[in-house]
């Protein structure tokens, strides 16, 4: 996994939040849209993805999960990922919210929202950011199973 260290020239708007408590993804997106897009009438498409904690993984019942991260690198990497997306598609605005700490089933893990004039850029950009986040951003999940033991999730699979 290599990453580009190029300084970017784009000034594309974005907000990246790492949150330690339960968050409401749709309310967070609505609040951010109100705050950053009010009065704008040039975006036609918003694509959004919410990752939610399930109560099962790899055949086992999961009680809770603890998300660890590398704070200094997380925001740097997420900003780079947004830069990459903005260099590929005409994206107007991006919001990323990622949860850390202990989390329970049905709570939100991650939100990625992308605004653009056109739907292809919004869909492609949102999915690109989500996929890159899964494979590049320094987060790690440790599961506590109903059966009593704990285990680190070994690796994110494509599209799972």
């Amino acid at each position: 996994m290599s990453s580009s260290t190029a300084k970017i020239t784009t000034t594309s708007v974005r907000k990246i939040m790492i949150v330690e408590e339960s968050f409401d993804p749709l309310k967070t997106q609505a609040d951010y849209q109100r705050e950053s897009m009010s009065g704008k009438t040039d975006y036609g498409a918003t694509a959004n993805f919410v990752g939610t904690m399930r109560d099962f993984n790899e055949g086992d019942d999961v009680l809770s999960m603890t998300l660890e991260h590398y704070p200094a690198m997380t925001s740097k990497q997420l900003n780079e990922i947004v830069d990459q997306a903005c260099s590929k598609w005409p994206i107007q605005n991006t919001l990323i919210v990622h949860r850390v700490g202990e989390i329970f089933p049905a709570e939100s893990i991650v939100l990625v929202s992308v605004w653009s004039a056109h739907r292809n850029a919004a869909f492609d950009g949102c999915r690109y950011i989500m996929e890159a986040l899964k494979h590049q951003a320094p987060f790690w999940k440790k599961e506590a199973l109903i059966a009593g033991d704990t285990r680190w999730v070994a690796e994110n699979t494509k599209g799972e």
């Binding site: 200094a72 690198m73 987060f139």
Partner: protein
């Protein structure tokens, strides 16, 4: 010449600590690469295939050289999102 080393997730638990700080001479640092730092820090002779490394919060490969003041992080595959 100070190098800070960080460990995360399962690796942190395996090693039993979250970080180290090492002093190297100017001469040692001339050719110190990631693999050598890993061996020095952990006492392990092999470099795990899936191990990821970042220098100053940027991904690097295992041949990258270490410079004075670098923050070097070792960690397993990431599993966020």
């Amino acid at each position: 010449m100070t190098i800070k080393v960080l460990y995360f997730a399962s690796l942190r638990e395996e090693i039993g600590r979250a970080n180290d700080q090492f002093q190297f001479s100017e001469e040692q640092l001339l050719s110190l690469d990631v693999v050598q730092l890993w061996q020095h820090a952990t006492g392990k002779t092999s470099f795990p295939e899936q191990l990821l490394v970042a220098i100053n919060q940027e991904y690097k490969d295992q041949k990258a050289l270490i410079n004075d003041g670098d923050e070097v992080a070792f960690f397993p595959p990431v599993t966020g999102g």
